[in-house]
């Protein structure tokens, strides 16, 4: 999978919501 294809996949509604949920569950932090 290319970088662009990965961006497209993760930007799709289902994946994006899942990614946000995953991040929230795993006590993430950012700067």
């Amino acid at each position: 999978m290319t970088f662009e294809q990965l961006i497209e996949l993760l930007t799709s509604k289902d994946h994006f919501e899942k990614l946000a949920e995953y991040a929230d569950q795993h006590r993430q932090c950012c700067a």
Partner: protein
């Protein structure tokens, strides 16, 4: 636990913040995180240093890292004078603020494509500066975990993504 700093951590401190005297903060990490094995603590410190380097060099955006590495950051911030000196010794030479924020809050009013691109773009940046993710280091980076667990990508594929998309680093600026 030995109080000697490992050569790997010494080299990383020198690489990311060349003028910073790391002896005192390193000793504090050893004293505070006694429940963690020395091997695990060294990995967490190493990934923290890499995170701070990338954040300082490439600026803002959301680079999610694990709670265990965040704990190292919390401890460092409490030593305010040393933390400030460390930030000023990083490539960006600016103080780096800490922000505990859920991704769902961060993404409000943001374009999903922009967020995802930022999420992925630091992988080539990490690869460029620090080489491949290992099994041990990868567990502290949420995006790498997500690609492994949810998209079933192997670590080799993720490292390939990092090595073959170096132009994506420009998305971080």
């Amino acid at each position: 636990m030995s109080m000697q700093i490992s050569s790997q951590i010494k080299e990383l401190f020198t690489h990311v913040a060349p003028t910073f005297d790391y002896q005192t903060i390193h000793l504090r990490f050893l004293n505070v995180f006694k429940e963690v094995t020395r091997e695990q603590l060294d990995i967490r410190i190493a990934e923290f240093l890499k995170f701070m380097f990338l954040r300082s060099k490439y600026g803002g955006g959301f680079i999610p890292l694990s709670g265990e590495v965040d704990d190292i950051w919390h401890e460092f911030i409490l030593q305010t004078r040393e933390y400030e000196l460390f930030c000023l010794a990083l490539p960006g030479k600016k103080f780096i603020h800490h922000n505990s924020q859920h991704l769902s809050d961060y993404t409000k009013d943001k374009n999903p494509r922009e967020v995802v691109t930022q999420f992925l773009a630091w992988i080539p940046a990490y690869y460029h500066h620090f080489g491949e993710f290992t099994k041990e280091s990868s567990e502290y980076w949420m995006m790498v975990n997500y690609l492994q667990n949810e998209l079933k990508m192997s670590l080799a594929e993720i490292n390939q993504l990092g090595s073959s998309n170096q132009t994506a680093i420009t998305y971080l600026n």
